[in-house]
């Protein structure tokens, strides 16, 4: 299943946040969206996931979601969005409870996703007992449980320290190589974008427009932190964004 944005524009009151965005998200590929702060990246992602309606233009699903997919468009949030009163298993179970699955089937899915995210031993822990990295792994497990066609990740690693971020990036890459999923990955961190993106979309500052789409052909599993090619890509992206970022930083926020 592909996702397509057609000529999407959006305003918040008098502020124009997105202007005429057309974009394709092919299935099984990770598309990173980068841009200066306040350029409407997260708004764009919420529109892709049907949590917000664009003023103009439309968001389209192309083709049917694969069989066994419980929730085609699934979010991973920056602040994890775990229910603090439910255990790790309970949090994963939450998103399965509205589907007609018997207890055994649900248990099997939970066991599977927890072992894929290396959380098998922590099933009964409460979120308050977990580190930030573990919390985000629970959120990833929860997203995997509904077998999404496209994962919508809103700065999923931004609340974590840089070491944890490295580890989680490796986890995401190995999850993807074992079972490729389509994803839209919003970030302001260019290092994450060049590590995880098959395609990187650079947005301009507000009102957000597509400035450039960069494709990186190197397979995800070959990419490493500090690899020369990636560093070059990152520098190219940064040169592209630098002025936008400076201008965006100097703007007054009037939201």
């Amino acid at each position: 299943m592909d996702l397509r944005l057609e000529k999407v524009s959006h305003h918040y009151g008098a502020t124009e946040v997105l202007r005429d965005i057309t974009l394709d998200v092919p299935s099984g590929k990770i598309v990173c969206i980068v841009g200066p702060s306040g350029c409407g990246k997260s708004t764009l992602l919420r529109m892709l996931g049907g949590l917000e309606r664009p003023d103009q233009g439309q968001v389209l699903q192309v083709g049917a979601p694969p069989a066994g997919c419980l929730n085609p468009l699934t979010f991973i949030f920056q602040d994890f969005a775990l229910l603090p009163w439910r255990s790790v298993r309970g949090n994963v179970s939450l998103v399965l409870e509205d589907h007609p699955l018997d207890r055994a089937a649900r248990g099997a899915i939970i066991d599977d996703v927890l072992s894929r995210t290396k959380l098998a031993e922590f099933g009964d822990a409460l979120p308050k007992q977990l580190s930030g990295g573990m919390k985000q792994r629970v959120a990833i497990a929860r997203a995997l449980a509904v077998n999404p066609a496209v994962m919508l990740m809103d700065e999923p690693l931004s609340a974590l320290d840089s070491q944890t971020r490295e580890l989680l990036m490796d986890d995401l890459v190995s999850l993807w190589t074992r079972a490729p999923f389509g994803a839209v990955y919003v970030t302001h961190n260019l290092a994450e974008a060049v590590r995880l993106g098959h395609r990187i979309v650079v947005l301009s500052r507000r009102p957000g427009q597509v400035r450039e789409v960069v494709s990186i052909d190197m397979p995800l599993e070959d990419r490493r932190n500090g690899l020369a090619e990636l560093e070059t890509q990152q520098k190219i992206l940064w040169d592209m964004m630098r002025e936008e970022a400076m201008a965006a930083d100097a703007e007054l926020v009037d939201v």
Binding site: G49, L51, L70, N71, L73, T74, F75, F77, D79, A81, L83, P84, W85, R86, L94, V95, E97, D98, L126, P127, K128, R142, V146, L152
Partner: protein
């Protein structure tokens, strides 16, 4: 030449609530001991304050004659029935107000209008509506617990983390699931702290209702003692109320510990 080394003065600490066991008990014991000492030495005259040991004796007599339960059981029944009705309806309406803008727009002004009415002033009305018997007392207590519960509940639901609700929607959870599994548990801390206040109000209204027309009940007992200036019995009744208040508070604390284990 090297300057002399001094330790950096400590400026942190304080401003943190720490658990001090037995402190609350100690304050009670000291106050009672002071009253006992004062009344025995004549420093406090017997007309000002009854001697704590005499109050205790009165209490024992109340227990021995079986009158304690004759007063306590109707009071507790009224409290439990009235407060359950009031708190139950209050939580239900509070949730409705928080979830539906139409209900909110229609009922918040009404709740604000009936909140400041001293409910005891409406007792005659309740007597006309529900009769002189138990029903009017239930109604009074229920009405008194209802308003603060409504306000606490809708404020608590308003404070539930919106990102959790968005999360529920993004996973395609049904409306009922979101309310039952995300909104209600998330509002629980606020609802429980609201109940602390409304149940205390229920105790106050219980006594007021019983003073106005009841043969048995702690309020009736206190009223009788008061009209005879029998301070020992008056205080025995007051002590029962205080203990009731402490028990309600401890009960809610116990529920909080169980239900809110997940809180940081």
């Amino acid at each position: 030449m090297s300057d002399p080394a001094r330790p950096v003065p400590f400026r942190g600490g304080g401003f943190v609530a720490r658990q001090r066991r037995g402190m609350g008990l100690l304050v009670f014991v000291l106050l009672i001991a002071f009253a006992e000492w004062g009344t025995r030495t004549g420093f406090i005259s017997a007309l000002t304050l009854p001697r704590p040991s005499d109050v205790l004796l009165t209490f024992k007599e109340l227990y021995d004659t079986g009158m304690l339960f004759k007063h306590l059981i109707p009071s507790l029944t009224r409290l439990v029935v009235g407060a359950s009705i009031g708190a139950g309806l209050g939580i239900a309406l509070g949730v409705l107000i928080a979830l539906f803008s139409l209900v909110r727009a229609g009922l918040v002004p009404l709740v604000a209008a009936i909140f400041p009415i001293p409910k005891i002033a409406l007792l005659p009305l309740f007597v006309i509506w529900f009769g002189i018997d138990e029903a009017s007392k239930y109604a009074l207590i229920a009405f008194g617990t209802f308003t603060p519960t409504v306000v606490a509940t809708y404020a608590a639901v308003d404070n539930v983390d919106r990102t959790l609700i968005r999360m529920g929607q993004s996973f395609g959870l049904s409306w009922q699931s979101i309310v039952r599994k995300i909104v209600l548990p998330g509002a629980m801390p606020g609802i429980l702290s609201g109940l602390r206040i409304s149940l205390t109000i229920a105790i106050i209204l219980l006594v007021a209702a019983e003073m106005l027309g009841a043969e048995f009940g702690i309020g009736a007992y206190i009223l009788q003692a008061g009209s005879l200036y029998d301070l020992e019995r008056l205080f025995a009744g007051v002590v029962i109320l205080s203990v009731l208040g402490v028990l309600v508070s401890a009960g809610i604390a116990a529920v909080e510990r169980r239900v809110l284990r997940w809180r940081v």
